[in-house]
Amino acid sequence: MWKLKDAKENKVLGVTVKPKNKIYWFEGVTEKGVKSLLTDENSKYRWLRSQRNRRVLVVLMAVGLIALAMGSYWPTLKTGSLILNSGAEIAIYSVTAIFVIFAVLGGYLLLRISVRGIGDAPNELLDERQIKVRDTSFRYAYYAMGYVVLGLLLLMLIGPDLQMFQPKGNDGSYLVVATLFAFSSMPSMALAWRERDI
């Protein structure tokens, strides 16, 4: 387990040595980033850490992911045809899609902050309780993703029979992006929802 003082500058033989900021490529986090979240250095995000606010964030994230996934279907739903009819419609569709992608990205980053990065942190930066909590959240995330994949498979199976569920507004790429975001954020969503204190 790390200590706060490890993150500060050390003097070795009179020379100030800045600790190296280790990058954990596999987890997609940095040592400094995780330690900063764990030690309340960024007090401006403290409001995010109440269970109520974390749960609100999880719900908003879920709505954002569904909205992003539906981006692949929206043109079909809206116009009743598979073609966007005018330049204005294409512009509205594109701008809305970009807005939703950035909103989901923002939600994803806030979610990571709200759970102190525990969902993505490596073992060596966490204590035994945090490791246990993180691992449990991954188990729940795995179950939840199972339902997401099941839903996608059902959509693929019954989709062709239902005219409104055909991802021909674009090539289905928003559905793929939403699924990738869901994979990345699901452990933090589980953690944010379940834990009383983070």
Binding site: M1, D127, E128, R129, Q130, Y140, A144, W193, D197
Partner: protein
């Protein structure tokens, strides 16, 4: 819903960490630094919402100058007993 499922009930481990910590005039952060855990983990332990591993129990006992058997028990401690 999966997220709403209840936690797996574990056999409770009672402790007197808070009592011993306060007696030494330590804050949760102080004890957390000594034991090498996050301060919230000390809170979870004191509220008996988390049962520590043997290694952590030993580290906490050492940090509080106590024996493990004096700090942890499978039966509730009597109130006020030092």
């Amino acid at each position: 819903m999966l997220f709403l499922m209840s936690r797996n009930p574990e056999e409770p481990v009672y402790n007197r960490i808070e009592e011993a910590r306060v007696a030494l005039g330590l804050s949760r952060q102080d004890l957390a630094d000594k034991a090498g855990v996050h301060y919230q983990t000390i809170g979870y332990l004191e509220r008996e919402e988390y049962s520590p591993s043997l290694v952590l129990a030993l580290r906490i006992a050492k940090s509080l100058n106590q024996e493990v058997s004096e700090l942890f028990s499978q039966t509730p401690f009597k109130k006020g007993k030092s």
